[in-house]
Subunit: 512 residues, 2 copies
């Protein structure tokens, strides 16, 4: 009874956050352009009320009462974990002073606008003063949250609880050490053919095929929908309403194709959360509650990467579904067989733009961004020196010259909106995806044969049992230990990439 | 300063209500079906918080402070009117006990479901017990609000402030007296040809033409959009985001065509509100604040009817735009000239279904529904006797036999959701539209010549000045007196209908 009273209060918080999410989805898919300003005020009002409700005396009273009444339950029971996460969220929100939070929100708006203008005009110097403010605020946030070794650790805790400068340094070091030789070896080989991916692919057929594949994976359209946007995303307003978005490039098929599969992977996670967690602190997607120490952004990314890459870029997948793709694009793909298509969508080619990167080079983009963030936060890198550092990093691993800042340091929106500490999630998602996938096909010998017959239910079932159903109940490493027997481990990912590219590019033995 | 503090507080209320409206729009246009239940909870949370905020001590404190500081402003200044409306809204919300309000909401949900099922199965007796509850609650609401002469007056005050059983009786009596002879005269004449309206009209072209005409009227798509729904509506989340919806019948062109023009008329009103009123109590569309004694539902309806009927069904309009319609449907309309088309969309034919009624018979549907509501509320009509009464009313004026309750008393959703007291708004909208239109073309002699050239700006400008810009600042009758010199007056409407049908059906002199 005490616990259900507590859930009633958290239901209000959850409804406010979910409503704010819907306003945000609408702003990015449906809203007429003239409404931007007032929509910002509406979202701010909902977020403020959610915060006020969370931090109210009433919530605290109900929380304490529920804590007393659940004292005898297991430490990792859903009830105790929901209470623990709420307490942690309150603590985190209280640590950040209201004035700092207000400044953070205010700066974000002007900074994003300044970044968009600076990027359009290729004028980093116009954005620099705003970025200095953003970095300065992020430092104050780090101080307010607190940390032991490095201020960046405090920011990491908001997105990827448990990771630190030290742990990431070790992880990234191992990845770079293992992946650079693969990249260098590939660069000695002739490039795989992929010109046909740039033929004319009408949007409607791209949409139809992508959505068909999302449904084949198990994405439930009675509880979801697919729309068009500029920067694709998945968003949920409870497990009963989990929406995905994509963007179409008429002359580049992979953009929407793998984008849709990626977002569908995120969506399978949200749609699979235990129905009992609806409107509770254990529902996974709680914007504005990010300080809750539940499942990490990287864990969420692991599900998008798993379905996009381990399934969507596999030979088994295309052996099954390439005929359907050809049926959607009979003229465009008439001269291309399935092997050529599979090679093309897996080709490796260092490029300047992160969001266009292949599987092998993607993590290099992440690693140097994370290191740059760390150095900005501890002051060892000055904003004014950022372009020079960026360009040197791109040269070092990817071997490319950055011709201008639009294609360099100004390409990502993250920093302009104060998102510092979240690039690492992408790589952690890649690592975790490989670790989970390897375990799944090992522990359940039915999974791989089923995949080669186009039956995705056994894999989905394993993920449902091990990951999806739990929502935010367990931490990322708890989930990993329970399902794979170990915490985050880069070796399955390295093994996956090395094996894949050795075969695709006929690399032979690699120098360690 | 006190006043702007007050506006800050009301901005929060407005944001919550606008967010609830967006959730509602989404539920009716975009939402996957599985999300119905949780969406209901989310909307309920937002509405509850809006009510709590409105009725809080803080709102009262700010209201009183702002009232003191604006004491020297004119009684009809925007400031004083916003304060007055807020006080009235608080008063109304306080009069309805929380328990009654909760029961009202709870009954609404089950009652609507019961109605939908009863309608599908043509079983009025299954719906009757729910309708009895609804009527009983409406009576309690009327008692809580208070009234002088008749309990129905209290319900009318929620939708059409100022109207009473007595005033409506007078208005409806005059309309029936004037319009029945027109209807009887038409029924002696051969029917106008309209079979071609039921040809095959593909949806996309219907949408394109309808939206093009909405834009021609002045609907601004940078601050709006058109979507598809089951029961069309206009909804706004501030003047910067005013959306319309329509439905397409492939084999009946007028449904979406006039539906879109109708909703565009509502939208012009919302888009024209003074920008200074954004997020204040003077913004027109404030769901859940209906008890505010500002502009009435009928006043809003006057704008949809004005654009739909006085413009959209006029010969001048079709002389200009029929070629564009034919360009969208070259095969379907190849053998039909503009006069035939204009006559077809204005034909009169008594029917069983209100939403399909023509301009002349529509009000008969409204009049008997309003009288039935009145009698249900004062107890002189029992729910069990409703079908018999309904069928007798349809027979009396429209001369039709009702073959079953699906085509009779079960056709409208209003009563199932507790909306009692709002049917009269449609007829008041018709009356007010004619009164405004006649005044507009009389006082500004440029309007009619401009209309015949397809220039809608002078008419829109007059409406903007007299109606739109004021939002909820003035009452319906204040607006009417300021713009037309008199309160609601049925004579221009009677004159309009009589003139129109005399010409279309070549009626000659009518017996009074």
């Amino acid at each position: 009874m005490s616990y259900s009273e507590f859930l009633g209060q958290m239901g209000t918080v959850n409804d406010l956050l979910s409503s704010a999410s819907l306003l945000s989805w609408d702003a990015r898919t449906m809203m007429p352009s003239g409404a931007v300003e007032v929509r910002g005020q509406q979202i701010a009002t909902l977020m403020t009320l959610a915060r006020t409700t969370l931090l109210s005396d009433e919530t605290l009273r109900l929380l304490e009462k529920a804590e007393r009444s659940t004292r005898d339950l297991a430490e990792d029971s859903a009830e105790r974990r929901a209470l623990e996460q709420t307490r942690y969220a309150i603590e985190m929100h209280k640590r950040i002073p209201a004035a700092l939070q207000a400044e953070r929100v205010a700066v974000r708006e002007v900074s994003r606008a300044a970044w968009a203008k600076a990027r359009a005009e290729d004028r980093f110097e116009d954005f620099a003063p705003y970025l200095e403010k953003v970095v300065n605020i992020a430092r104050q946030v780090a101080d307010a949250i607190g940390y032991e070794a490095h201020p960046y650790d405090a920011l990491l805790s908001l997105f990827e609880p448990g990771e630190t400068v030290v742990s990431l340094n070790k992880l990234f070091g191992r990845l770079r050490e293992a992946m650079l030789p693969v990249l260098r070896a590939i660069q000695q080989k002739p490039q795989l053919r992929w010109d046909f991916l740039e033929r004319d692919y009408p949007e409607q057929q791209q949409r139809d095929f992508g959505l068909q594949m999302a449904e084949v994976f198990g994405y439930d359209l009675r509880r979801g929908r697919l729309d068009t946007t500029i920067h694709p995303f998945e968003i949920s307003f409870t497990r009963e309403d989990v929406r995905i978005t994509t963007r179409y490039k008429r002359n580049y098929l992979p953009a929407s194709l793998f984008g849709t599969l990626h977002e569908a992977g995120h969506a399978l996670y949200e749609q699979g959360v235990d129905p009992a967690y609806t409107r509770t602190p254990l529902a996974t997607d709680m914007p504005g509650m990010y300080a809750v120490g539940g499942v990490s952004y990287g864990a969420h990314e692991s599900q998008s990467r798993l379905w996009e890459n381990h399934i969507g870029r596999s030979k088994a997948f295309w052996d099954l579904h390439y005929p359907a793709l050809k049926a959607h694009f009979p003229d465009q793909l008439s001269d291309i067989d399935v092997s050529a298509f599979h090679r093309a969508v897996n080709r490796v080619e260092p490029g300047l733009i992160r969001v266009e990167a292949d599987e092998l080079t993607y993590d290099f983009h992440i690693i140097f961004r994370t290191e740059i963030e760390r150095d900005l936060i501890d002051g060892s890198l000055k904003v004014k020196d950022l372009p020079e550092r960026w360009n040197a990093e791109v040269k070092k691993d990817l071997g490319l010259d950055v011709p201008n800042n639009r294609l360099g340091v100004l390409q990502d929106t993250h920093w302009s909106t104060g998102q510092i500490g979240t690039f690492c999630n992408y790589t952690i998602g890649n690592v975790m995806a490989a670790q989970l996938y390897k375990t799944a096909v090992t522990v359940d010998s039915n999974i791989e044969p089923a995949l080669s017959e186009g039956n995705y239910a056994p894999l989905r079932h394993w993920l449902q049992q091990e990951i999806y159903q739990h929502g935010r109940r367990f931490s990322r490493d708890e989930l990993l230990v329970k399902s794979t027997g170990r915490t985050l481990d880069p070796e399955p990912y390295i093994e996956y990439l090395t094996g894949k590219y050795t075969s695709l590019y006929e690399l032979g033995a690699l120098k360690p």
